[in-house]
């Protein structure tokens, strides 16, 4: 009893983590299933069909590749634009700072369905054809904010003395940026890009509103949910999960060895604290 009281918090914490992983376990287990009916919901029989024949069902792999393509392109553009904004916010004085901050914060506080609907209203009124381009435009839009807050936090957390030292040693402004500032900010930029890609790759609501006839991986899953999701989808989702986990763990390991471990998601969370704080004061 005493043991239970002393370890209660630890037990609850581990139960919550386990709870977070229950659906992941279900997805993985069902990737080895041979469904009895059309819906892959209950366990029937062990099978490797999903894994040996990954592209066996039409549409699965093409939508998967499409999502990677859209994710890569949107992430690159949004990371460049967002990093530039973050530098401007931290290093330069300009007019309209509070409007800028609001415009960066709002996309993170707007329900996706409203963002998807309003962007669709714009494209419809302009008679702009829906498709890959409109989805990419939308993804860049909602990734930018996450990049700005992540890179901004990194820039603000940097020791200004490092750059001062470089300047004292007669480095040109260009050299200071190239050899001191940029390498120090790079982990933040990479973290932001990783977060941006995962947001884009997994986005359903905003994409669905602006996709027209384009089918991304989440849109494929949505359509398949009505008539039964093929086991291949579970196998691909398992692969994505494991690859992403490996990348983050390697990143953590590298960060740990360099004695700075800041998770980009934790920064976003922290930034949301700061913003709510400012809004509360205004």
């Amino acid at each position: 009893m005493r043991w239970l009281r002393r370890n209660l918090l630890r037990i609850i914490a581990f139960l919550v983590v386990a709870y977070l992983f229950i659906p992941i376990a279900v997805i993985m287990v069902l990737s080895f299933n041979k469904p009895s009916g059309k819906y892959n919901i209950t366990w029937n029989e062990f099978s490797l069909d999903g894994w040996t024949n990954l592209c066996g069902v039409p549409g699965v792999c093409s939508s998967f590749v499409k999502s990677i393509e859209i994710g890569l392109f949107s992430t690159i553009v949004a990371t460049v634009l967002g990093t530039m904004v973050a530098f401007a916010l931290v290093r330069y004085r300009f007019r309209g700072r509070s409007t800028t901050n609001l415009l960066i914060f709002m996309p993170m506080a707007t329900p996706e369905v409203v963002m998807g609907a309003s962007l669709l209203a714009l494209f419809l009124n302009l008679r702009f054809p829906l498709g890959e381009l409109t989805v990419i435009i939308a993804h860049i839009m909602f990734i930018i904010s996450f990049v700005v807050v992540t890179v901004k936090a990194r820039l603000q957390g940097m020791d200004p003395r490092l750059e001062e030292a470089a300047r004292d040693l007669y480095s040109s402004p260009r050299a200071v940026f190239r050899y001191v500032t940029f390498p120090l900010v790079l982990p933040g930029i990479l973290g932001a890009a990783l977060l941006g890609f995962s947001l884009s790759f997994d986005d359903f609501i905003i994409s669905f509103f602006n996709a027209g006839t384009l089918v991304t991986f989440p849109i494929y899953i949505w359509g398949a949910a009505q008539r039964g999701i093929p086991v291949q989808v579970n196998a691909l989702a398992t692969i994505v999960f494991l690859v992403a986990l490996a990348i983050v763990l390697i990143g953590q390991f590298v960060a740990y060895r360099r004695r700075r471990s800041l998770e980009s998601t934790a920064i976003v969370a922290e930034e949301s604290l700061a913003t709510v704080d400012t809004l509360g004061r205004s």
Binding site: I41, V90, E263
Partner: protein
């Protein structure tokens, strides 16, 4: 709220002097132009679309107008879905807070060297598709599954089932947005100086009193941020209602999606979106103001 937690900006030593030159604007303008054109201006077109009137004889075609009745008509048809959305999102947010707090507390104060690994574990489930994770709850909450059986054995379920009821939708919302609650809570708790808690116990405060008088008030900024980051997406979500609920459990997001994409009734869908956004903004600002002032007392 002012003195409680320094924001990230204030925590660092006064950074490099800010320069004022054209470069600042050059860096700023491309990104901000993108957000203006594809985030801010669409709100204006959304509002204009919500007032459009149908062109007689052409279905799915609309012309600029000032038809305010779109709003009253939409509200008359869908008011229940607004209430349901906010009730479901509210319950899910409260449950998420209850579940997330002990874990965030554990990571911030007790996890030691496992801290960053545990943070990775919190965000890792998001790497598996949102739709598939939601779909997986169909398996977990299935009628013949053990959760439903145990709860039926205890006579806890009014409809003898969880799947295809509001309970499943709330369970899905709670699960899906939990990381958005854990991370801000952790960020706020992690900033608390353990010496403040030690001081409280040195002054003979019981662990419960220390929590109630010291830890909980200091973590309030995280509670506010976490509840907002959970409540807002949950209120607008329609994936959980569609995959886990029955047609009687639809939320406002379902109505917006169906009107926009299936019915092509753009004015109604736009009016519904505008009202959702306005209600959320009003709720959020009232909440932040209240939370802010209560904390200063």
């Amino acid at each position: 709220m002012v003195a409680v937690v320094p924001s990230a900006a204030q925590a660092t030593p006064a950074a490099v002097a800010q320069r004022s030159s054209k470069t600042g604007y050059v860096l700023l303008i491309p990104g901000m132009a993108w957000l203006t054109v594809f985030f801010a201006i669409p709100f204006i077109t959304l509002f204009l679309t919500s007032l459009q009137a149908p062109i007689a004889g052409k279905s799915g075609k609309y012309q600029p107008a000032f038809q305010i009745s779109n709003y009253s008509d939409a509200l008359a048809e869908y008011w229940q879905l607004y209430i349901r959305s906010f009730v479901y999102a509210g319950i899910a947010t409260a449950l998420a807070l209850l579940i997330a707090y002990p874990l965030a507390y554990y990571i911030a104060f007790k996890a030691g060297k496992w801290r960053s690994l545990m943070l990775v574990l919190v965000i890792a489930p998001s790497f598996a598709s949102f739709l598939l994770r939601t779909y997986a709850w169909k398996t977990i909450l299935a009628d013949e599954g053990w959760i439903t059986s145990v709860m039926n054995f205890l006579h806890l379920l009014p409809d003898d089932r969880i799947l295809n009821t509001g309970l499943a939708v709330i369970a899905g919302l709670t699960y899906n947005f939990l990381p958005f609650m854990i991370l801000p809570l952790y960020a706020a708790l992690e900033k608390i100086d353990p010496r403040v808690q030690e001081a409280a116990s040195d002054l003979y405060a019981s662990p419960a009193t220390t929590f109630r008088k010291v830890t909980w008030p200091l973590s309030l900024p995280g509670v506010v941020a976490g509840t907002l980051l959970t409540f807002i997406p949950a209120a607008g979500d329609y994936i959980n209602a569609q995959l886990l609920g029955s047609t009687a459990d639809r939320m406002i997001g379902n109505a917006i999606q169906i009107n926009f994409i299936q019915f092509r009734d753009y004015p109604t869908a736009s009016a519904l979106s505008v009202m959702l956004m306005v209600i959320i903004l009003v709720l959020v600002f009232t909440y932040i103001r209240r939370a802010g002032t209560e904390e200063l007392v």
